[in-house]
Symmetry: C2
């Protein structure tokens, strides 16, 4: 049953892509059924299959080694995103550090040493936004069993778990997801300390901490940092920390200095083909198709904006 | 049902641990039912809950930054392990490099640039050992649904998937697992190029490539390497590669230079408590218990050998 559904989705998507490639006359042979690789799926995509990552929804964190770009998720953490935006606007993070890198877990930056830098018109604490109602949430199911959640899928490029009975949805701690560190009190975070996942998805953090975005470029600048040797991967000496040169909302950076990015849409027919190509790899190297795919093994492609305005 | 089973297992294990801590008189209150944290479980373990990692089954890969220690898995890849051991014995890897680091995927070392270093009495190619019979395999089920396999669990510390219908078992590509790179032909690997997983478990590689061990110490020396900027994360300039100073079987290293390690046994009652502590975290920080745990989110603890000979 599942196999059939998948096959149909793939056929539809393949047909759709082929149609986009060339409007074939009706008398021709049907398009080839050969399953596509992820590279072939992406090559077959049209500008409408991509969406611009909006600059007002984007953070540039400049490290001495380069730019880390974060897409924010206001649809999941509206107050945290607003607060992090306010912190960025007043230069809160500039001159602070990546203070903690724990292997196979997280890289964390911001407020450290227990020192409290003034937050100006932002807040130091924001009430937890661990989950939200699933009502009104765009959601494309992955169609796979998941160890942790009743249902998983995508919402505008973000990996999402959903409990249909409870009507609740939450972001998933996949590689590259960005969250707001907190103390033991659930409402003790606020965004003055942020972290990104650098290893196996720590799904036990889901619904325990507020996720507010994901790294869409420059992840390797965080994941390749030396691991801290202190407890929880904190650096033991100040000089080991990686300084943050600046942390700005992209819309407040001169246009000439921006990195215009677009993200593969997760609400399209061709995205179904992309997932299928991740589920069963058809590159020559692969011999045994997995038949399944974990939500965190479907990375959403991001590319430099082509300059063509998507049709949507 | 599952909850009950888990609870019972936990109670048994808790009782067992408490008994080991102090032989309480029978008239005392029963031991506390407060669920343990992973730290508490480990603190309650006895020497018999740990097993020595045998030096003849251990590789020391010396990098300029330190020692990476790999435990081999001859029970899954006997011929690959024998071949890698033969390669190590003749110094095959000494002076070669980590040649490829692809973010959220693998670090790979050994033969590079298409240059073929002589392999002496070892083989360049070994027939694939992607899976084995499950008959006679020690196996402790995790008791969790898995996206990829009918059943998952542990065999002597290694993460294993199992298909009871087919009677087949195979190692899982969790973080830190070590495999033998190959070309398109399934039998084209042999161990002259090895890789370790440095990100989200690439489970689509399971049964597509021979896994032969796991990194039990020094993983951060591989995972924090700069990512290569060439295709598949290959370094583009020779000087970017991390040299391998030596790569030896531990039993052939003078005893004074060895790192004696022991691994938390996965076939004990207390291991059940450890899994439960990973499944539902009871540290004060955690608020919403996950209720589940992925096979790759149960890292097997490894520690410096205490010098006490385990009872088993």
């Amino acid at each position: 049953m599942r196999t059939l559904r998948r096959l149909m989705a793939m056929v539809v998507a393949t047909a759709c892509v082929s149609a986009a490639r060339a409007a074939a006359p009706e008398t021709e042979q049907p398009p080839t059924k050969k399953p596509m690789t992820t590279a072939e799926v992406l090559a077959a995509s049209t500008p409408a299959d991509w969406r611009t990552i909006e600059p007002q929804n984007t953070i540039y964190m400049e490290l001495p080694t380069g730019r880390v770009i974060i897409e924010l998720a206001p649809q999941f953490a509206p107050h945290y995103v607003a607060n992090v935006t306010a912190l960025a606007q007043q230069g809160y993070f500039n001159g602070l550090w990546v203070e903690r890198v724990q292997d196979n877990y997280v890289a964390q930056w911001g407020e450290s040493d227990g020192k409290k830098k003034p937050v100006g018109n932002a807040q130091r604490k924001v009430a937890a936004e661990f989950e939200r109602t699933s009502r009104g949430l765009p959601f494309v199911p992955l169609g796979e069993p998941d160890t942790y959640a009743p249902e998983v899928g995508f919402s505008d490029g973000f990996p999402v778990a959903l409990d249909p009975k409870l009507g609740r949805a939450w972001l998933i701690h996949c590689y590259g997801m960005v969250g707001a560190a907190r103390d033991n009190d659930v409402d003790s975070g606020g965004g003055t300390e942020l972290y990104a996942v650098i290893g196996q998805a720590p799904r036990h953090l889901d619904r325990n901490v507020t996720l507010l975005g994901r790294v869409v470029q420059g992840m390797e600048l965080l994941s390749s940092l030396p691991r801290g040797t202190g407890t929880l991967g904190f650096y033991e000496k100040p000089e080991q920390r990686m300084p943050i040169l600046s942390f700005k909302v992209a819309s407040e950076v001169p246009e000439s200095q921006r990195t215009p990015l677009e993200e593969f849409r997760t609400d399209t027919q061709i995205f179904t083909s992309y997932v299928e190509a991740r589920r069963n790899r058809h590159e020559e190297w692969f011999k045994v198709p997995a038949g399944h795919v974990d939500i965190c093994n479907v990375p959403i492609p991001v590319r430099r904006h082509t300059g063509v305005t998507p049709a949507h």
